[in-house]
């Protein structure tokens, strides 16, 4: 097996151990020793140590995580993490507790609003979390449970079914909407890439690792936001970001690299005159709804 396989086994073992811990925690003696995860996830203790070691962590509903309660397509589950209610945020994480690779991405919003949306693979029913680190070093964590039939991380990418898939890796589709009254402009981008986890026997991991969005201005390029992405991001990754391009930006530049050294490079034009800012659904939206 590849090292990835071993790592997967190790996570599975931790999962079993913590399953045991969870059952036991029903008894009062153990409950006191365990900080209470609102989602009662068996992996929380291990993940807390792995990704937030030494840092203060609070469970905070100001971080809004949106994902369906049931994953219809475990290879592409929509997920958004919105930490705009916290104000300034330095770094954000997305985590799927029971995935063989729990960490989905790290987002460095830079000057952007602390909001990121993408699609992820899910290997089994799991807690899905968003975390946002504020300037005082505190991680604000929230999450939802997503039920799933399973297998999203170990399904072969559909890309490979097309003979010419390799000719299209790194193709970018993107659109920028004009800034709203707060100066926030929605960017959506889609990159053709198998984004393969390496869990399918005989196929090495092949996924996008970094993406940076810069603004082209007369004074030179300036970085707006950066994403470190990992195996659980879906094939043909899609992102929505809420950027703050400077008023003199002539275009945006997307640069990225995958784990085999392949480069991603695209210039995203500014919106045409007369285009309208993106529509979003914010809490308190007066639109009526049925069937909740």
């Amino acid at each position: 097996m590849l090292p990835i396989g071993r790592s997967c086994m190790r996570h599975a073992l931790i999962g079993i151990c913590f399953s045991a811990a969870l059952l036991v925690s029903a008894t009062p003696a153990f409950a006191a020793a365990s900080p209470s995860d609102p989602l009662n996830s068996v992996m929380w203790e291990a993940l807390r140590e792995q990704y937030f070691a030494g840092a203060p962590v609070v469970f905070d509903d100001k971080v809004k995580v949106t994902a369906p309660a049931s994953a219809e397509d475990t290879r592409a589950v929509p997920l958004s993490v919105d930490a705009t209610a916290l104000g300034q945020v330095v770094e954000m994480l997305a985590i799927a507790d029971l995935n063989p690779f729990p960490l989905i991405l790290r987002y460095h919003p830079g000057t952007a609003a602390p909001y990121i949306a993408t699609r992820i693979k899910i290997q089994q029913a799991t807690a899905v979390r968003g975390a946002a680190r504020t300037a005082d070093g505190v991680w604000h964590v929230s999450g939802v449970l997503v039920d799933a039939a399973g297998g999203g991380c170990s399904a072969p990418p559909v890309s490979y079914a097309q003979k010419d898939w390799a000719d299209h890796v790194g193709e970018v589709q993107a659109r920028l909407w004009p800034a709203d009254a707060d100066g926030v402009a929605r960017l959506r981008l889609r990159i053709r890439h198998p984004n393969d986890t390496g869990l399918v026997d005989g196929i090495p991991a092949f996924f996008v690792e970094t993406l940076t969005v810069q603004a082209q201005t007369p004074g030179g390029p300036s970085e707006l936001a950066r994403i470190d992405s990992l195996e659980p991001v879906s094939e043909n990754p899609v992102y929505s970001l809420d950027l703050r391009p400077p008023p003199d930006a002539k275009a945006l530049v997307l640069r990225g690299r995958d784990n085999q050294g392949g480069e991603i490079d695209a210039i995203i034009p500014m919106p045409p005159p007369g285009a309208r800012p993106a529509m979003t659904l914010r809490p308190g939206d007066p639109l009526r709804s049925v069937g909740q």
Partner: protein, 320 residues
């Protein structure tokens, strides 16, 4: 650390054993699972087993469909076999109480699980379906069955994939005193078979029409589905049996299905064009007029998963 973990594991095993005993006791107290299928006579010689308008659950065992049968002088025609072997067997036993005529043929309208997973109970009879349905079950049947085991559990016991044996095409066929028109369409899935009994005017619409139940879209092409509904509108019928939802003597639910699909497609396209993200779209408001559709929000969210990525891919411009 290791000792502590081992101790916890041992304790967990003990707890799990206790839990299993309790569950087994509860299952025995409830008695064996049964769908309690009772046929309703909806037209001369024509019966339907009416199912729930909900999702597949461990409470309903996957009985969310309207399967049916027609008793001709030459034998019985069965339409859909249900979600599990148990359903198929109970269905066959219930048919036997209505008539002792032999079963001549089974028709399967599409590849979705509740249409055909009961086919094991009819393995001695020709199982007819469109070639596209047969290919779909060959390709996806085992995954579909696995997912049903996960969703409804023990109801599925002993259920195995039974692929339809006889390809059928658009035609009119006579069974005894009944003339059946087989109508091949595509839209709800890649191969949708409707069966119009010209003798009684009963249309078994399969998944083409839903009635007071939110339509499902895992294999749908909305543009083609709307054309299917036009085809239903052109038919002269007396009773419409949708696979999901209520049986009606009119075409009200053809219009209802069209209204939903048109709204769904238009709303998702508009949201994508307006810069909204797929996760946000899960929470979009649904107009009040659709409140009559059962499992509305759940099914809407599934449809977002099915339809959004393709529309988005088509609408985003290439930039490199």
């Amino acid at each position: 650390m290791t000792t502590k973990l081992l101790r916890r594991l041992a304790l967990a095993a003990a707890l799990a054993a206790g839990l299993t005993t309790a569950l087994t006791a509860a299952a025995q107290a409830a008695g064996p699972l049964t769908y309690d299928l009772k046929p309703t006579r909806i037209a001369p010689d024509t019966y339907v087993f009416e199912g729930s308008t909900k999702h597949f659950t461990r409470a309903n065992g996957g009985n969310i469909l309207n399967s049916g049968f027609i008793v001709t002088v030459d034998g019985v025609i069965v339409i859909q076999t249900g979600p599990s072997r148990r359903y198929g067997e109970e269905m066959r036993a219930a048919i036997r109480k209505v008539t002792d005529k032999p079963i001549r043929k089974v028709f399967i309208s599409n590849l979705h699980p509740d249409y055909w997973l009961g086919s094991q109970a009819f393995a001695d009879v020709p199982l007819a379906a469109l070639p596209g349905t047969i290919a779909g079950i060959q390709e996806e049947g085992s995954g579909i069955a696995d997912n049903m085991y996960r969703l409804v559990g023990d109801w599925m016991r002993g259920t195995e994939v039974t692929v339809p044996t006889e390809p059928v095409y658009g035609s009119t066929v006579r069974f005894g005193d009944h003339r059946l028109r087989l109508i091949p369409l595509a839209g709800h899935t890649a191969a949708d078979l409707m069966i119009l009994d010209e003798t009684t005017g009963v249309l078994f619409a399969g998944g083409v029409v839903f009635c007071n139940r939110t339509p499902t879209t895992p294999h749908a092409s909305i543009a083609d589905w709307l054309k299917e509904l036009d085809a239903v509108d052109a038919l002269d019928i007396r009773l419409l049996v949708p696979n999901h939802g209520h049986i009606r003597p009119d075409k009200t639910c053809v219009a209802q299905t069209r209204d939903w699909l048109t709204w769904l497609d238009g709303t998702l396209r508009h949201a994508i064009e307006s810069g909204m993200d797929m996760a946000e779209a899960l929470e979009l408001p649904i107009p009040e007029r659709f409140a009559v559709l059962d499992v509305l929000r759940e099914e809407y969210r599934r449809s977002v998963a099915h339809l959004w990525p393709k529309i988005e891919q088509e609408s985003l411009p290439r930039v490199n």
